[in-house]
């Protein structure tokens, strides 16, 4: 194969290109090039902007959206894209027999939650209908300020009904594959590459610069770096693929770029186990972690220590101060020392109050983490060792480390078979609920055993309000409860990503919080 115009190192091997069932970010990058929805991601802001719908009207109560499709919207194989195609695609996504992991995004649409959870089987009850071939009307459960962002998600994309009906789950292997996005599929070689070609029928084809794009897969940071350094790849887009050991060197180069994104590193307490059922114990342990040591000595990409689970700037929301906030916002060494000393005093007091003065009588417990995670450089292990040392030194309590492999880690976390465990969360859209919803009592992503009626009620009230300021206040109140008062989790830092491309050669890549970098916007500067 001749070299593509643009070669992107995309990260792990693609599992599937089916926008309804894919889960990984690497899969999403390729699938996003092939399939589009009512909106698409803006390369600068990472938010939803007009895609196959050229505009939309919102009802005054914020619950009804009317999308106007482009008259020239068409699949790469020539079939026009019409309102009925969206209705069919969305119904297919919420149909439990599709088994779409991400169908939770349809909870915001009327009837979506009932269908996805299986309490209703009438697909026609989903709040989407075709008013005419070019108008789609969507009814929402609540006013949802980020709904237009959601419409750019892969699972909301429009799919070729006739192909899916003919080939079933294997429809993405159809040749030719009818694509609704900027590119069409040329080749999909496992463990090798996915090659896509610009679709001449795409409505915005005039502004898509690369003709042929290759997505290479690799899960080895040093291999990825070698390929980048020798010019085999133009863009190293997967942030987990840069060897952390070389951060100091690489950060000084003009072609390595850091950016903040919606990701938080934290630890989970199993509140169903003693002594972590005692909030004083959780608070004491949270206060004793010097988060600056972790970002300065281990991760070293300029991550920001945090006391909240929501990263700052998430859809114009500022997280409220959590437990140990003063340390996180300290700007110099002297301030940090003062804040940390205060945290320690408070931690010792809390631990004594809980019945373990100086750590006496505190049971030995384990900290579980996925070994080999964090880009092969054992970041999780280094963080665990720091935490272990801090607990021992300042509180006199013994924590044993238990590294496990990835699937065991996931399984033990879901079954609440741990004491304290590493956690992280990457937000899907620019709104605090993408983080806060994890800790609702009935969320499968909670995995701490923590259930709080007041927290759930605050979230419910926020969902029902159409006043943006009131909504933010309610969500902040919920987050305060989570991160300052109850602390079933211990937030450590918000992530910083790192990607590589030569700015003199490649354009169209912009840092944004959702880490969305559509290849249709990328181009080579000649």
């Amino acid at each position: 194969m001749p070299r593509a115009d643009l070669v992107v190192l995309n990260g792990p091997e693609i599992e599937t290109l089916d926008p309804h069932v894919l889960t990984g970010q690497a899969d999403g990058r390729v699938s996003g090039a092939l399939f589009e929805g009512l909106t698409r991601f803006d390369p600068v802001s990472g938010r939803g902007v007009p895609g196959l719908a050229e505009r939309w009207d919102v009802s005054p109560n914020g619950r009804r959206y009317t999308f106007h499709l482009r008259t020239n919207a068409a699949f790469s194989t020539g079939e026009p894209i019409r309102a009925e195609d969206f209705v069919w695609s969305w119904r297919h996504a919420v149909d439990p027999s599709t088994a779409a992991d991400y169908s939770g995004f349809f909870f915001y649409v009327k009837g979506g939650k009932e269908l996805v959870t299986g309490t209703s089987t009438n697909l026609a009850s989903l709040g989407i209908r075709a008013l005419n071939p070019l108008m789609v009307e969507v009814e929402l459960v609540n006013p949802t300020p980020f709904f237009v962002d959601l419409c750019a998600m892969r699972i909301m994309a429009v799919m070729p009904r006739w192909t899916v009906e003919r080939f079933g789950d294997q429809w993405v292997r159809a040749e030719p594959l009818p694509c609704s996005g900027a590119f069409e599929l040329v080749a999909w070689l496992p463990n090798n590459r996915v090659r896509v070609r610009k679709s001449p029928r795409y409505w915005d084809a005039a502004n898509v610069r690369p003709q042929v794009v290759d997505f290479l897969s690799s899960d080895s940071p040093s291999t990825a770096l070698n390929l980048y350094l020798t010019g085999e790849v133009d863009v190293l887009i997967e942030k987990g693929l840069i060897p952390i050991e070389l951060n100091d060197v690489l950060l000084k180069r003009p072609d390595f770029h850091t950016f903040s994104y919606l990701g938080t590193y934290f630890m989970r307490f199993n509140v169903t186990r003693k002594p972590f059922d005692d909030v004083r114990v959780r608070r004491a342990m949270s206060l004793v972690l010097d988060k600056w040591r972790i970002v300065d000595r281990i991760t070293k990409l300029g991550e920001r220590p945090t006391s909240a689970v929501t990263p700052p700037g998430t859809g114009g929301y500022s997280p409220p101060p959590g437990l140990g906030h003063n340390l996180c916002v300290a700007t110099n060494a002297a301030e940090r020392a003062v804040a940390f000393t205060a945290n320690l005093a408070e931690a010792k007091r809390l631990l004594a109050e809980a019945g373990y003065p100086e750590g006496r009588g505190f049971p030995t417990f384990t900290y579980m983490f996925n070994a080999g995670g964090g880009g092969g450089s054992r970041t999780h292990e280094k963080i665990a060792v720091e935490f272990q040392a801090m607990l021992q030194e300042h509180l006199g309590i013994q924590m044993e480390l238990r590294p496990v492999e990835w699937k065991t880690y996931l399984s033990e976390m879901s079954r609440l078979n741990y004491d304290v465990i590493r956690g992280s969360w990457v937000g899907d859209y620019q709104d605090p609920t993408t983080f806060l919803d994890c800790f609702l009592g009935d969320s499968g992503n909670n995995r701490t055993g923590w259930k709080n009626a007041r927290y759930d009620a605050l979230r419910e009230r926020a969902a029902g309000t159409s006043d943006p300021a009131a909504r933010v206040a309610l969500l902040q109140e919920a987050e305060t409860l989570l991160c300052r008062d109850e602390v079933p989790i211990l937030p450590v830092f918000t992530y910083t990503g790192l990607y590589a491309y030569d700015p003199n050669r490649v354009g169209g890549i912009h840092p944004n919080l959702t880490d969305e970098h559509p290849v249709s916007a990328m181009f080579l500067k000649r």
Binding site: M1, E13, I14, E15, T16, L17, D18, V21, T23, P96, S97, T98, A99, A100, D101, Y102, S103, G104, F105, F106, F107, V116, T117, G118, D169, Q170, V172, R173, W188, L189, P190, N191, N192, L216, S218, D219, S220, S222, T223, N226, L227, L229, T230, E232, E405, W406, K407, T408, L410, S411, E412, S414, S424, S443, G444, N445
Partner: protein, 321 residues
């Protein structure tokens, strides 16, 4: 011939036992193929996913389905055999790469791994035999010291160190060879060396040993006494016996090369099958694990059988009963 047939007949139950063990072992490990950092949207979705890939069935039922011996009532109400199964040569869909069948992935990756393995085999022979030959003939000289040291070094340095060193020197510093990927002949050079050098070192040592022993034998003294030229003595009389240990080592070596290329494939981003061998068990890709175990079991057993046969042909003293 009878011996050969008996061995062949024994292969089938052996492969069956191996595959059955793999089938159950990988399912006993904690977690499953669809466990991810975030939970599916609802328990109903989770159930539907398990149902789709028959993971909701009992182990016994899954095993029968895997073999192709599962009978069930179809939508028409009649009993019929569930489609697919090992007996009809269908290993099923990969549970991680859900749009590819296991056979599909093997078909794309195996030729690459085989090519790499055979190239590395050639490289190991081309590297090891001349060095072993030379160091034995020039025993005790500086050349012997350097050659033997080189052979020892490449045996001691593991592939995951050797590969990056080769990349650093010949790829990044000198820029002679590409640092990865597959397709162009030049791209094969570094991985071939990284994979083959260790075996080359072992071949060199075996060759040196064999040649040294051979040169001390009586028939060499006879040949020299009869006035044969030195070159003729070395090549015609000493070499054929000296190379026998290398020949018997070449079978296991080929098997190792064909199945043990995971590290090198990973370092050079080569689209072979080795990467799947390790990753499939980590990702609990049940169907893929079983498919690859089946493939490697057959490959190893057949290669071993062929080596035994070749040995009998090369050395008339070896007789199988």
């Amino acid at each position: 011939m009878r011996y050969f047939l008996r061995r062949l007949a024994f292969l089938v139950p052996l492969v069956w036992v191996i595959v059955t063990l793999a089938f159950f072992l990988v399912r006993v490990a904690p977690g499953g193929p669809f466990d991810r950092e975030r939970k599916p949207a609802s328990p109903a979705v989770e159930r539907a996913l398990a149902e789709k890939y028959h993971l909701d069935e009992s182990m016994g039922s899954q095993y029968l389905r895997f073999l192709g011996l599962k009978w069930e009532t179809g939508p028409d109400g009649h009993w019929h055999r569930a489609p697919g199964g090992l007996l009809v040569g269908d290993l099923g869909l990969s549970l991680k790469y859900r749009n590819h069948t296991v056979t599909d992935i093997i078909r794309q990756g195996l030729p690459v791994s085989l090519t790499l393995g055979i190239l590395a085999f050639g490289f190991a022979m081309g590297f090891g035999i001349p060095i072993g030959f030379y160091t034995a003939v020039r025993r005790g000289s500086w050349g012997d010291w350097i050659g033997s040291l080189l052979a020892l070094v490449v045996i001691c340095v593991p592939g995951f160190v050797l590969g990056p060193v080769l990349i650093l020197v010949f790829g990044l510093q000198l820029g002679w060879f590409p640092v990865g990927l597959w397709g162009a002949p030049l791209q094969a050079v570094l991985p071939m060396a990284a994979l083959g050098l260790f075996f080359g070192g072992r071949v060199a040592r075996l060759m040196r040993e064999g040649m040294t022993q051979s040169l001390q034998s009586e028939y060499i003294r006879t040949a020299r006494a009869k006035g044969a030229s030195e070159l003729r003595v070395l090549l015609r009389h000493a070499f054929p016996t000296a190379v026998m240990p290398v020949v018997s080592y070449s079978g296991p070596m080929l098997a190792d090369l064909l199945t043990g290329s995971f590290v090198v494939e990973n370092i050079f981003q080569i689209p072979g099958i080795g990467v799947f061998m390790v990753n499939s068990s980590l990702s609990r890709d049940y169907t893929m694990v079983v498919g690859l175990v089946l493939l490697y079991a057959i490959l190893l057993l057949v290669l071993n059988l062929l080596v035994d046969l070749a040995y009998g042909l090369l050395d008339p003293r070896v007789r199988y009963e």
